[in-house]
């Protein structure tokens, strides 16, 4: 009867697996089609995060293959899509729902403690997040809560995006750190293995040398020589090992600092000083001031010409340039080479030739 016992064992294993699959109660039935696991041992239950009503896979296929449609559970008017159906992760549907809600909330409400001036404000914020979560979970004031979430999202757009980026970066760094540590472990292990192998090889060599020495004419002298050689070798090896150990140690420590530095990189972008649009350049004119308009019959046509106006030509820019160039030699002395160093940098530039006429195009 050995074959029977084998099939028996297989059946028991399958049953056990099924029991694991379906959780505790063995004779589950689909609330929609009422088919039970007894009839269909491969039955899988799916839920949709819209309403969390459980139904079997064949029901989902049957009802939603033709496109979105209403939930078959009596009294539920949610429109469900096949794509959103998934396997239940937690046995308790309430837990399943809470995990989903928290996931969604965490995406929007992702402020961190450092975003708040004080712990009190951070705690208030956390409490509010909890209230929103609770409301969503227990269907209290759904529309008001949703409005609240949207309002928060609108007003914190940039900080939400920023915190998402921050989180991603931190995860990346943590990942890099883990990989780095793994690599370090691997290297340390390799190093130890190598030491062991070296020791083994040296020992074997020493033994062979010893035997050879004993075969010689004057064993004592030869043995002493071999022993001395071995001692020398082992001390050299130890020195070598210590040096490499130190190197490894250094390698392990140095990049760790880098990781720390990188971690600190985010959020340190505070302005060292007040924002200066021109980065410290002095824009004042020492010798003249610009006026809005200059009377010049030659310019009248340019100020009126439609095609010049539409192209964006600015007569003002021409006037500024003309003035600037007219005064650009003032305060600059050719005979005074030191003046160029002290005065020249703060004095208007000197031109050998007016730029407009140097090359004509």
């Amino acid at each position: 009867m050995p074959s029977l016992t084998a099939s028996n064992a297989a059946a028991i294993a399958r049953a056990r697996e099924n029991a694991v699959n379906r959780g505790s109660d063995a004779d589950e039935i689909c609330p929609v089609c009422k088919s039970s696991r007894y009839l269909n041992p491969n039955m899988r239950f799916l839920v949709n995060p819209e309403c969390y009503h459980k139904m079997c896979e064949s029901c989902v296929d049957r009802l939603f293959s033709q496109g979105p449609s209403q939930c078959p559970v009596v009294g539920c008017d949610k429109i469900l899509r096949k794509q959103r159906f998934r396997k239940q992760t937690f046995e308790d549907i309430q837990v399943e729902k809470e995990v989903d809600v928290r996931k969604r909330i965490a995406k929007t409400f992702n402020k961190r403690q450092e975003d708040f001036p004080s712990l009190k404000e951070f705690n208030d914020y956390l409490e509010e997040v909890e209230t929103v979560t609770f409301n969503l979970l227990n269907s209290i004031d759904i529309s008001a809560t949703e409005a609240k979430i949207t309002a928060f999202e609108q007003s914190n757009k940039s900080s939400i995006l920023q915190n998402i980026a921050k989180n991603a970066q931190e995860q990346q760094l943590a990942q890099a750190q883990r990989e780095f540590e793994r690599e370090q472990h691997r290297r340390a292990k390799e190093f130890e293995d190598q030491i062991e192998a070296e020791e083994k090889r040296d020992k074997a060599e020493h033994k062979a040398n010893l035997l050879k020495a004993l075969e010689a004419d004057n064993p004592d002298a030869e043995v002493a020589k071999v022993n001395k050689l071995a001692r020398k070798k082992s001390s050299m090896r130890r020195e070598n090992q210590e040096r490499r150990q130190r190197e490894l140690e250094a390698a392990r420590n140095a990049p760790a600092f880098q990781f720390m530095a990188n971690l600190n990189r985010i959020g340190e972008e505070t302005p060292a000083k007040k924002y200066d649009p021109v980065d410290g350049y002095d824009e004042s004119n020492r010798y003249f001031v610009y006026r809005d308009r200059y009377e010049n019959p030659w310019l009248e046509e340019a100020l009126k010409s439609k095609s010049m106006l539409a192209g964006g030509y600015l007569v003002q820019q021409y006037c500024e340039r003309a003035l600037f160039e007219a005064f650009s030699g003032v305060g600059c002395f050719i005979e005074d080479p030191t003046g160029e160093e002290d005065e020249g940098l703060s004095a208007p530039a000197l031109f050998d030739t007016p730029m407009a006429d140097a090359v004509s195009f």
Partner: protein, 417 residues
Amino acid sequence: MSATANPSASSSLANATAVRRTLPFGNGNGNNTPLPAMMAENGDVKPSKDDSDASDNDDPDDLNTRTKKKYTKDRKLGEGAYAVVNLGHRRATATEAAVPVAIKKIKVNTEFRDGLSMDAIREVKYLRELHHPNIIALLDVFSSKNQNLCLVLEFLDSDLEMIIKDSSLTLSMADVKSWMLMSLRGLWWCHKSFILHRDIKPNNLLLSASGVLKLADFGLARSFSDPYRPMTSNVITRWYRPPELFYGAKFYSSAVDIFSLGLVFCELMLRTPFLPGNTDLHQLELICQALGTPTEENWPGVTSLPGYHEAGVHVKERGTDFFMNTFIAAGESGVELLMKMIRLDPRRRCSAREALNANWFSQEPYPTQPVNLPKKGGGKGIEKVGSDLKRKAGELFNTPDDAGRGKKLARKLDFGG
């Protein structure tokens, strides 16, 4: 064209160092120097004023040899139809350590039979004058044995296009803000010095090893035009060209650069070009769709532009809502700045100085410090910038088949004025 036609032009240009007395153009009207401490930190180098071997001899040939001797060539980064770019370094002197530089050797007689190419002239002309931490530094100019012009430029190892295209990098709004701030400062300095850049795009915004952004490629730059003197409207790479240039405007102003930079701003957020047109017409259509169709109401006088034509699409000029939806990450003040930069009517666009005053820069998140900005390291970066430096201004790509297309497309730059 008188200067280019003159055969001695190259040698006189090559010795631009001889006119040391010409102070930096922009340093006029009582400015401070570009903060010395910051310059040192960025690894910037200024042409040293007291060369140890500088003799009293002002002979141009002598000066040229002396300048040439200051630099060595290390290796070639790339070669194009217009120039060869070498990585080199300035020899270490008693007081200063060796500094890496990019040496751009302009090929003579490739395009312009009787002189230097216009790009080279413009590059030298304007970079000699502009000194600002956010503009690439032209350190020296010298001529090689066979009269080729060599520009010694500050070496920068990556550009903004590489950053945008590198999908492994995440760019935070603080990073975008920092890049925008630096490019606006560079552009402000150009405009303050009365120079139009006319080729603002991500791969002309180079990044130094310490993260500082610098405007480069002044091959299409020119000084502000005098009234009644027309300029060509065939400038700026198509994807970044403002609508007035598509309508053939001959009289335009610094607003064209602002528009280009605004589109770079969009690209930094979207990580893909905002308006990638295939042809000029398609590009204009994209502008109309994305920003609105130009009409007499939103852009007075647009119909009188020489190349104006009725657009096929009729979209009302976009308001705040559209930009808020598309560029939500920038926040309200960022969107406000962006809208001011890419207005259809050039007269309603903000100036670089006004843009720098935007609230956005002084709000949280604060601009990232340059050293902390995301970087693209490695050898690939060097090669890419090599190819960028040698590419002709105003062209989009540098691939072989594009080079063929570039040849067929005549460059209609009417320098005659």
